[in-house]
């Protein structure tokens, strides 16, 4: 007997060792449950992280834009009613009023990591007879690259943007039949036409974006789109992307401008991710329930099988509390062992996923990592599940009448 362990531990461990087959089956059951939970959680976290990474690598957390033009109906105070129905106006391209001041204000907000002004609007990229509609974005490289890491997405040339330089999407370059160092016309809706040199070709990982996107220096876009000195968007990144919506509301209140968080922009995606998370939690709950019922049923049988021994221990002076703890500990030990083996199994499943779940070019679908916290949580939850599962059999064991128990 280990002198470092109390009576209850010694008895619980011996009882588990004696019923080896039962214990093994229960631990295997708990392990499979924990493995499923660990693997699914890791997979779900990785899927969500991958989606967020993809979105946020090409998107600011918050976009500030001028307030939308709104139609105001004319009212006749004499009749207290509208005298005409006003049609909603088309939205004009216009600058954020005093955007430099607003930029400074936003930069002073804690947790705002970067504010990047931009001008964007529709234009055409023209080369010879070919003309393609594009989204022209004028940017300040230094802050903008902190939001969208364009240098990392450059597949040819560099992300450097001098006065007459431009960066074009890979698909647009193919469609126009142009390459690095070649010149193309950019023609805006206002009729301004200027020639720019392709200094870099990028791949944003999205065919549509690669077909439309063109980046030029801010000043160039201001001229082309007729917003001299202006900026029609302030792109913002914050320390925690998940707080973007609440911060956007705060910014809208402080500036009186429109502030859209990426969470709001991708509302449907978020809804589906929330549904996915809820489904995963439901699966985890039912797996946990199945594990708990497995442990409980084995312990119920164990209490019946050991009723004589419980009676003897009670006759020798074991208290109800001691008997209760012996069976609670058995449940907790099974849960703990299940969590250890299950975590290892789960890690094995993840490793298999890393090996086999790959794109045709051999690259992984996405990066799947196993956070140590996941194992810790799995261990705690499984042990607690075992403890709770053992509660009912433990109580029934502690309430056994020693006389009847010994008699069998």
């Amino acid at each position: 007997m280990n002198p470092l362990l109390p009576f209850e531990w010694i008895a619980a461990v011996r009882f588990l060792k004696e019923g080896r087959a039962q214990t093994l089956l229960t631990v295997v059951g708990a392990s499979v449950g924990v493995a499923v939970v660990v693997f699914m959680s890791a997979l779900l976290l990785a899927v969500q992280a991958n989606i967020f990474t993809r979105i946020l690598s090409t998107q600011p957390h918050i976009a500030i834009s001028p307030p939308k033009d709104e139609a105001r109906p004319l009212r006749d105070p004499r009749i207290a009613g509208e005298i005409a129905t006003i049609q909603a106006p088309a939205q004009k391209l216009r600058s954020i009023d005093q955007w430099q001041k607003i930029r400074a204000l936003l930069q002073s907000i804690p947790d705002v990591t970067v504010v990047s002004p931009s001008v964007s609007g529709a234009a055409f990229a023209v080369r010879g007879d070919a003309s393609k509609a594009i989204t022209l974005s004028g940017i300040e490289s230094e802050p903008f690259y902190k939001i969208v890491n364009l240098p990392e997405k450059i597949i040819s040339g560099s992300a450097r943007l001098a006065a007459n330089d431009m960066l074009v999407g890979s698909q647009l370059a193919i469609n126009l039949g142009v390459g690095l160092g070649e010149k193309i016309h950019i023609r805006s809706a206002t009729g301004i036409d200027e020639i720019y040199t392709i200094s870099g070709i990028f791949d944003l990982g999205n065919r549509g974006a690669n077909e439309r996107s063109v980046f030029v220096p801010l000043r160039a876009a201001q001229n082309l789109l007729g917003l001299q000195g202006g900026a029609n968007a302030l792109d913002i990144n914050v320390a925690d992307p998940m707080t973007a919506e609440s911060m956007a509301l705060r910014m809208a209140a402080e500036t009186g401008l429109q502030a859209d968080s990426w969470i709001k922009t991708f509302d449907q995606l978020f809804t589906s991710l929330r549904t996915q998370t809820a489904a995963n939690r439901a699966i985890q709950f039912f797996v946990g329930l199945a594990v708990a019922l497995g442990i409980a049923s084995v312990l119920v049988v164990s209490v019946v099988q050991r009723s004589k021994e419980i009676g003897i221990l009670r006759a020798m002076g074991a208290s109800r509390g001691q008997i209760l703890r012996i069976f609670l500990l058995q449940g907790a030990i099974v849960g703990l062992l299940g969590s250890i083996v299950g975590s290892a199994l789960g890690a094995g499943f993840v490793q298999l996923w890393r090996i086999f779940a790959r794109n045709p070019d051999g690259t992984p679908f996405f990066v799947i990592t196993l956070a140590p916290g996941l194992f810790l949580i799995a261990g705690l939850v499984a042990t607690l599940t075992g403890l709770l599962a053992a509660l009912m059999p433990a109580i029934s064991a502690s309430r056994l009448n020693p006389v009847e128990a010994i008699r069998g």
């Binding site: 002198p3 362990l5 021994e309 020798m316 002076g317």
Partner: protein, 243 residues
């Protein structure tokens, strides 16, 4: 003034009654007012036909069951007023049990089974506990089998281990329920001799429930229970009232 013994009797029962199914149509009284005194060092047999109430009486004496009416004193302590936890403690420290089938705990070795009452009482194993158990196993002639699991021993050996276990807390009273019932003649004699030896050496009181008249005749006192009453035997009268 009558003489009052310096130490209280190990066991005193006053008008003990035990009914089952109380408040129902099938209420039945098994024990009808038992008076009994057993002094320290007595070696007694409790006999009686099946269904006479022996086991019920033994359970009440062993504090495994409570009397419906009457009083049970163990070493002078009135057990009626004790809460369950106190009753359990008193049982653990004053009473040892030897059951018909030894009822050792199969998950533990002979030595660990003997250590068990002290382990239950103190909560943690220690070296003194181990030495005491080894000494007791030596005394019942099983020192060499101390590491055997309970199931790996013969019935007689298991019963010897059970006696060693009953002695672990050095109790005042050992209750033996048919201790030789499942043993062959030789083993039965050996077990009885062992109990007698302990009784003489330690002045440990024994109350042995048996159907075996041969065994009963080897005790100092036979207490016969018939239909829930003590009918014959050298039933010691209650202590004389103070004049």
């Amino acid at each position: 003034m009558a003489d009052i013994p310096a130490t209280p009797p190990v066991l005193r029962l006053e008008g003990v009654r035990r009914s089952f199914g109380i408040g129902t149509d099938v209420e039945i009284e098994i024990l009808h007012g038992i008076d009994l005194v057993i002094e320290q060092g007595e070696f007694c047999a409790l006999i009686g036909p099946s269904g006479s109430g022996k086991s019920t009486l033994l359970n009440i004496i062993g504090l495994l069951d409570r009397a419906t009416a009457g009083k049970v004193f163990i070493m002078g302590a009135d057990t009626d007023s004790l809460a369950d936890a106190e009753l359990t403690r008193l049982r653990s420290r004053r009473i040892g049990f030897v059951f018909q089938n030894a009822l050792l705990i199969p998950a533990f070795t002979a030595l660990e089974n003997v250590m068990m009452p002290q382990l239950v009482d103190r909560g943690w194993p220690d070296e003194a506990m181990r030495r005491n158990a080894e000494s007791l196993l030596g005394r019942v002639g099983l020192a060499a089998r101390k590491d055997n699991l309970a199931n790996a021993m013969s019935g007689g050996q298991q019963q010897r281990v059970a006696i060693a276990r009953a002695l672990a807390m050095n109790p005042a009273l050992i209750l033996a329920d048919e201790p030789t019932g499942n043993l062959d003649t030789k083993s039965a004699e050996s077990v009885l001799a062992l109990m007698r030896e302990v009784n003489l050496a330690n002045r440990t009181t024994f109350l042995i429930v048996t159907h075996n008249m041969e065994l009963a005749r080897q005790t100092d006192r036979i207490i016969e229970v018939v239909d829930g009453r003590i009918s014959t035997g050298t039933n010691t009268p209650l202590l004389p009232a103070v004049a």
